[in-house]
């Protein structure tokens, strides 16, 4: 049995890989992070044995008379960590009522504790499966952008000049230093991008460009923020890595002002051209070296082909959507990933 850790929403990739697992004759079971967050699932710990029990009505193919389906963790032959819990239920609602409702400190304390409880439960599951073959363990799925940047430089990549600061004057000096490139800087989160939904509007943190005028409009001090030189690009590269193999795609985003700074500001009327790309051997070697250093078996790397000829490394998303590379380039990555999981399960049985 291949156990898949995923999430319920915005995750079409998992279903496509499961389709391939079925077609290739493998058995799989998917557990979404939300299922542990108040879903119909329970753990039974009996001495050293742990069994997951699911509500049978939620498992397709279950016997009609069965009320629960049991999965002893001992039967799990391989694990795919695709994604996990994004928003916990207690983070989405107001926990306090009446006069206490405005007690922000209490609210924060309650949420913090519930989040820790929820994390511990997930950690327990991951820990009990630690001796099974994983396709990228969750411990390695959370990368630090700055740390990865340094490791990429050590692997031989060109990387953007980077500044983390709280001071406008420091940022201004940095921007002036970057004038040799595009005369501007970009800012993006130190951690993950996020989207906030307020009423009927979504607010997404895209990479944004700042020139001196925008910098001068900032207050003298702000929260720690990440800035990088803005590099004039010929095109962007998105490279999916799977167990030593690289699948690269070029994205021609630079000609459209809407996608020039961040291609995720998709143009629906005039989509960016995306084509398969053969990486130079030197770039491929550096990327493999970096992925091995990070001990990642899957991940999506973002690179830029700069106008000055450099291939510049930006970042890696270990759980990025690879459908966006697979489909335009006919790489059939969903099938390749299913085959990799089946190999993992077989390797585990031989061990």
């Amino acid at each position: 049995m291949i156990l898949i850790f995923s999430q319920s929403a915005m995750e079409p990739t998992t279903e496509e890989v499961m389709d391939w697992l079925e077609a290739l004759g493998a058995r799989s079971l998917r557990l979404n992070g939300e299922d542990l967050d108040g879903g119909a699932v329970c753990f039974r710990v009996d001495g050293p044995e742990v069994t997951l029990h699911f509500d049978a009505t939620t498992v397709a193919g279950a016997e009609p008379a069965a009320k629960t389906i049991a999965l002893p963790l001992a039967e799990v032959g391989a694990v795919w960590f695709r994604r996990w819990l994004q928003e916990r239920r207690h983070e989405m609602v107001s926990l306090l009522d009446g006069p206490s409702a405005e007690d922000h400190q209490l609210h924060h304390g309650l949420r913090r504790h519930l989040t820790l409880e929820s994390r511990k439960l997930g950690d327990f599951l991951f820990s009990r499966l630690a001796d099974r073959p994983w396709l990228s363990h969750p411990r390695r799925a959370s990368l630090n952008k700055l740390d990865v940047l340094i490791r990429a430089a050590q692997a031989g990549f060109a990387t953007p000049a980077t500044l983390v600061t709280t001071e406008r004057d420091e940022l201004r000096r940095f921007c002036l230093d970057c004038r040799g490139t595009a005369g501007a800087v970009i800012t993006k989160p130190i951690g993950e991008v996020d989207m906030f939904i307020a009423g009927e509007r979504s607010h997404f943190i895209f990479t944004a460009s700042l020139d001196l005028e925008a910098i001068d409009a900032l207050p003298e001090r702000f929260a720690p923020s990440l800035f990088q030189e803005r590099i004039e690009k010929a095109y962007e590269l998105r490279v999916f890595y799977l167990a030593g193999e690289l699948y690269a795609m070029a994205i021609f985003s630079q000609l459209d002002p809407q996608t020039r700074t961040d291609f995720r500001r998709y143009s629906r009327e005039r989509p960016n051209r995306m084509v398969p790309f053969r990486l130079p051997a030197e770039t491929a070697d550096r990327l493999r070296l970096l992925m091995e250093d990070l001990r990642l078996e899957t991940g999506s790397a973002d690179l830029l082909q700069a106008r000055d000829g450099r291939v510049v490394f930006l970042e890696i998303n270990p759980v990025g959507q690879f459908g966006m590379v697979s489909k335009p380039c006919n790489y059939h990555l969903e099938r390749k990933l299913a085959e990799a999981l089946i190999r993992k399960e077989l390797d585990g049985q031989r061990a």
Binding site: S8, A9, M10, E11, P12, E15, E16, M18, D19, L21, E22, R27, S28, L29, R30, L31, N32, E34, D35, G39, V41, F54, T57, T58, V59, A60, G61, A62, T187, K188, P189, M195, F196, I197, A198, G199, E200, R201, S202, H203, F204, I205, F206, A208, L210, L218, P219, F222, A223, P224, S225, L226, F227, R264, R265, Y266, R268, Q321, G323, M324
Partner: protein, 69 residues
């Protein structure tokens, strides 16, 4: 009653504005597309049940596409 501003940064308190990084000043706002909402509604039963076995048939693939993110 005054309508709340559409710019999320403008809705932050004075203290809140000091606590968020510069990127919050450049949030990209867009209306939640009706089609996106309808796809999410369609997928609700699957998302509510969550775990599925290998016999499950295409629950969410048709419901969310990359440009909805």
């Amino acid at each position: 009653m005054d309508k709340e501003p559409e710019d999320l940064f403008a809705r932050l308190s004075a203290e809140g504005r000091q606590l968020v990084p510069v990127s919050y000043r450049f949030l990209h706002a867009s209306p939640l597309a009706v089609a996106t909402v309808m796809r999410l509604v369609d997928s609700q039963p699957y998302r509510a049940t969550g775990y599925v076995c290998s016999a499950f048939h295409k629950p969410i693939s048709k419901c969310c596409s990359q440009d909805d993110v």
